[in-house]
């Protein structure tokens, strides 16, 4: 099912949570809504589900305008961060709930419900736990029951609100891979919300980066990491440092001095680069500063460097250095970004 979101605005008591958001979600896509808290990503998910209604704008399911359809009419599967399982029902009753509450004209017979529940349990690899109550399950098992329950109603799209947020790191990783496989097998259009960029980049076909009620960038993991479209995306995804620079006659100047990189188009801007896109270099036209800390990070070393700023607090940058590079505390290092982006003011 294709979902089209047209110029959605949502205000909570005059406070805008979403501001003119448009997005096209292709059929069968796995989409991540990524952003810090308060960026409006959960609000957007709830609007798609019909748990909230937009102040302005439309939501289309295929060609059908679903903007004013109730949550029951939309027939979406929704998985909550804290599972929201019905505590007084067994696993089987939880999963069968959506079928049992249907009007008698479309409700499948009891034996059919039982069969479907047991198929779904097998699908989420929890066969044999029908009679358990939610409080007898682990967090990861509960989340899979919640997913099976959402799938039981044969939803048109599947929406997950921080589905792994309440789980510990190891289970989270396992479930992440499992969800990817699950999606590839069932082919449901799926949207999930997360503030964990690793999760979004690893799992999603396309990542929607959001900030302050707006979409900053939509793209594949490679797009948003390698070609960030805005200063926010550059600093939010992955590690990065930034410095104010000026471009004059094709060379980039920092504090009035050339730093050995060139760029077209004159004017002031903000230079962004990632720690791994840096070379230590021993020439005059480079950035330089004092090493204030260095820490081992898996196969590399990260050096934290303070760049003096004429009596103001120094600029702080992080660069990745080879393990045996001479980066003693307090020593001066010179370096140049090899890949960078300048966002104009």
């Amino acid at each position: 099912m294709e979902v089209t979101i047209n110029n959605i605005r949502k205000e909570f008591e005059r406070f805008p949570a979403l501001n003119d958001v448009s997005l096209k979600i292709g059929s069968g896509e796995l989409i991540a809504l990524l952003g810090p808290s308060g960026s409006g990503k959960t609000t957007l998910l709830r609007l798609i589900a019909g748990l909230d209604f937009p102040t302005a704008g439309q939501i289309f399911f295929g060609a059908e305008d679903a903007s004013h359809h109730s949550v029951q009419e939309r027939n979406v599967g929704f998985v909550f961060q804290h599972y929201a399982l019905f505590r007084h029902m067994t696993v089987a009753e939880n999963i069968g709930f959506g079928l049992k509450v249907r009007p008698s004209s479309s409700r499948p017979p009891k034996t059919e419900i039982r069969k479907r529940v047991s198929n779904l349990l097998d699908m989420v690899q929890l066969g044999g736990l029908e009679k358990r109550y939610p409080n007898q399950l682990s967090g990861g098992q509960r989340q899979r029951v919640a997913l099976a329950r959402a799938m039981a109603i044969e939803p048109r799209i599947l929406l997950l609100d921080e589905p792994f947020g309440a789980l510990d790191a190891k289970v989270r990783k396992e479930l992440r891979r499992w969800l990817r496989e699950f999606h590839d097998r069932t082919g449901h259009t799926t949207v999930f919300v997360t503030h964990d960029q690793e999760e979004a980049l690893e799992l999603a076909d396309r990542v929607v980066v959001m900030s302050q009620g707006k979409i900053e960038q939509v793209g594949s993991a490679d797009d948003v990491y390698d070609r960030p479209g805005s200063p926010f995306v550059f600093s939010f995804i992955g590690e990065s440092s930034q410095l104010p620079v000026e471009v004059k006659d094709g060379t980039v100047l920092f504090q009035g001095q050339p730093i050995g990189i060139s760029e077209t188009g004159d004017g002031a801007g903000e230079l962004f680069f990632r720690p791994e896109d840096v070379n230590l270099i021993d020439t005059q036209d480079a950035l330089f500063g004092k090493v204030t800390a260095s820490r081992r990070l898996a196969g590399t070393r990260i050096a934290e460097i303070d760049i003096a700023n004429n009596g103001h607090p120094p600029y702080h940058v992080e660069v990745e250095v080879p393990l045996h590079a001479p980066v003693e505390l307090g020593s001066e290092v010179r370096f140049r970004p090899t890949r960078w982006k300048i966002f104009r003011k």
């Binding site: 949550v71 929704f78 399982l85 007084h88 709930f97 509450v101 109550y133 329950r149 109603i153």
Partner: protein, 285 residues
């Protein structure tokens, strides 16, 4: 290795190490206190009753007036507690779910039956529901006051806060996401309430019912004004006890008290069992 483990386990059972000190002291105090306040007076009750002998006890128990009074007491308390469950849950719902002007005032009003002297409540209710009263006159020739229906009304008044105050905090804690989950699964509002919300409230509702019921069985002050106290019809067991006391028939009074105590205890025990069961089933709601 296994031997020391076994020893450690045995010691474990004798005294569980706890970071909270004073287990012995507080348990000793609790037992002594409960004995003084509850157990000894109740033992005295049984002892006084025992003076009657089994024959005398059975005679009082099988007396038609006693049976009717017990029936009226427990029957009206039961009906009033049931009514309170229905309307108490609605009041708790309104107080927790909606924000409206005067909500705090209504919230405070719920506690009034706790604070008001019961005799005052009884007189006020009688004035209202008597055949000449504001409300009572509307229903004439059907009489409310001076019938068991009047008793039920007094007990509803007395018992309401017990249900509201036990259900309200649990309702506040209810997970809104559970309702939203039900909605996404296609359940309408009625199905969500009956299949998702109410089952989660069951333990709290049972507690509220038990408290309202227990309070209703023992209620005296407000009931005697509105009941009319017609023997065999609207005479409650506590009143019968007072009547026996005024006749200096202490053994008879304590015998009725003992019977009430046993019935109440049995009923509360059953309710407790149901609660324990539902708590096990529904998690620690």
């Amino acid at each position: 290795m296994t031997a020391t483990a076994a020893v450690a386990r045995a010691r474990w059972r004798l005294k569980r190490p706890s970071i909270i000190p004073g287990f012995g002291l507080t348990l000793g105090f609790s037992l002594a206190y409960l004995s003084l306040i509850i157990l000894i007076p109740i033992a005295g009750l049984f002892w006084r009753t025992a003076a009657l002998g089994p024959g005398g006890f059975m005679a009082i128990l099988m007396d038609y007036r006693t049976l009717r009074a017990l029936y009226v007491s427990f029957g009206t308390a039961f009906v009033a507690a049931l009514v309170n469950v229905v309307f108490g849950v609605i009041v708790a719902w309104v107080l927790t779910r909606y924000n409206f002007p005067g909500r705090r005032l209504i919230d405070a009003m719920v506690d009034l039956p706790f604070a008001l002297p019961t005799a005052v409540a009884g007189i006020a209710l009688t004035a209202l529901y008597a055949p000449q009263g504001w409300v009572g006159s509307l229903f004439m020739p059907f009489r409310i006051a001076f019938t068991p229906l009047g008793i039920v009304i007094a007990l509803i008044f007395i018992g309401l806060p017990f249900v509201v105050r036990t259900v309200q905090p649990v309702m506040e804690e209810l997970d809104r996401e559970m309702e939203e989950a039900a909605a996404t699964l296609g359940a309408n509002r009625f199905q969500t309430i009956s299949k998702v919300i109410l089952p989660g409230l069951t333990p709290a509702i049972l507690t509220g019912f038990a408290l309202a019921f227990a309070r209703g069985v023992g209620e005296y002050g407000s009931v005697i004004f509105i009941a009319g106290n017609i023997p065999y019809v609207s005479e409650i067991a506590p009143l019968l006890i007072v009547i026996k006391l005024e006749e200096f028939n202490y053994a008879g009074a304590t015998a009725i008290a003992t019977i009430m105590l046993l019935i109440s205890f049995a009923m509360l025990f059953v309710i407790n069992l149901i609660q324990a069961w539902s708590r096990r089933r529904y998690g620690n709601a």
